[in-house]
């Protein structure tokens, strides 16, 4: 959806300082651009639960992090997410890749299509869903809104493959 340089320039315009992530096939296309971005530090973790806590620490220290993970990582990291954004009410923002949404044929029967949106609803997070290219500007708009309101937020981004 976002070309690598386009994504980096968007994050830079938003003032984001750190991307805490685990790449998947789609998100991983941003790897080199993120690693070489002069104003962004890429912080890779081993498992997605770490990402929310690490981003929280960055926020506490005065940075502006974003969590970038696939929806499978959202499933894995639920307790960490709950703890950070609900127990501690920290306004951490995440971009979640929605596996199989644009191409269900490559992983037939992928239950990401069944559970991703209900799980996000269950976590009661302010979410914007980018279903296609035309909706891309909503990411920055939503991030700015969440930042201004000091609330956590999620940008759910449709992906086409695993």
């Amino acid at each position: 959806m976002f070309a690598p340089e386009e994504f980096v320039s968007t994050l830079t315009e938003l003032g984001i300082t750190h991307v805490v992530w685990i790449p998947d096939t789609t998100l991983g296309q941003w790897d080199e651009a993120l690693r070489t971005a002069p104003e962004i530090e890429l912080v890779q973790v081993c498992r997605e639960g770490e990402a929310w806590a690490l981003a929280a620490g960055l926020y506490l220290g005065g940075a502006k992090p974003i969590v970038v993970i696939q929806c499978t990582g959202l499933f894995e990291s639920g307790d960490s997410l709950r703890n950070i954004v609900h127990d501690y009410r920290l306004p951490i923002y995440g971009l979640i890749g929605y596996r199989s949404f644009l191409n269900a044929a490559s992983l037939p029967g992928d239950t990401c299509l069944k559970f991703t949106e209900p799980v996000l609803d269950a976590w009661a997070l302010d979410t914007v869903f980018l279903k296609d290219e035309t909706m891309k500007p909503q990411f920055a708009e939503h991030y700015r809104k969440c930042t201004e309101q000091q609330i956590p937020g999620i940008c759910l981004m449709a992906e086409g493959a695993a």
């Binding site: 750190h18 805490v20 530090e41 912080v43 890779q44 973790v45 081993c46 498992r47 639960g49 770490e50 990402a51 929310w52 806590a53 690490l54 981003a55 929280a56 620490g57 960055l58 926020y59 506490l60 220290g61 005065g62 940075a63 992090p65 307790d79 960490s80 709950r82 703890n83 950070i84 127990d87 501690y88 009410r89 920290l90």
Partner: protein
């Protein structure tokens, strides 16, 4: 067979408390409970309620954002087992201002003392899981182990040496007054820490 030596958790924490200087100190589970008996500090985070295993990455984030701020995370062995990957993440980031203290008593103390899967009784070789070896294998180069509090106290300067540092403390476990507890609403307490970090 002789009983392995170990130190009381409260005494181990008293050493950290005494020599923390201006460090952020994040405590989890049993350590979080006992830390509340000590004089509070604006840069404390009694990480209760917690997401078990996420204390180290929380501290790592602070350490990355503020490279001149020492961060000490006191993590239980059960918490460490919940998120062993954090050792690899920490070693990869290699913050010089980060100290991980693993308090290893072999049990989930706050839930009643059930042995962890790292306890000798649950391991095929009958040997305790060696957290210091795990830290070294993950990439930590500054790794220390203590089973008596006076040795730890004598070497207290390692809390602040260039890191990342991993200190494994063999501790006894309490059998009374063991429940996890929080000193107050977490959202308010973490804002106190945030304000202290911004000042």
């Amino acid at each position: 067979m002789s009983t392995p030596q170990a130190m009381p958790l409260a005494e181990a924490l008293a050493v950290i408390h005494q020599y923390r200087a201006d460090a952020v100190v994040i405590t989890t589970m049993g350590a979080a409970r006992e830390w509340q008996t000590l004089e509070p500090h604006p840069k404390d985070l009694v990480y209760m309620p917690s997401s078990m295993g996420q204390g180290p990455p929380l501290g790592l984030g602070i350490a990355i954002a503020q490279p001149d701020q020492r961060v000490i995370v006191v993590n239980g062995d059960g918490c460490t087992l919940m998120n062993l990957g954090c050792l690899v993440t920490l070693a990869a980031q290699a913050p010089k201002n980060f100290t991980l203290v693993v308090v290893d008593n072999g049990v989930y103390e706050v839930t009643g003392g059930q042995t962890t899967i790292g306890h000798p009784a649950k391991r095929a070789d009958g040997q305790p899981l060696n957290f210091a070896d795990l830290a070294r294998a993950a990439g930590f180069t500054e790794v220390y182990e203590f089973d008596d509090v006076e040795s730890f106290r004598f070497e207290h300067e390692i809390l602040h040496e260039p890191g990342p540092v991993c200190i494994v403390l063999k501790t006894t476990h309490q059998t009374e007054d063991i429940s996890a507890r929080s000193p107050g609403p977490p959202a308010e307490r973490i804002q106190t820490l945030r304000a202290a970090l911004q000042s």
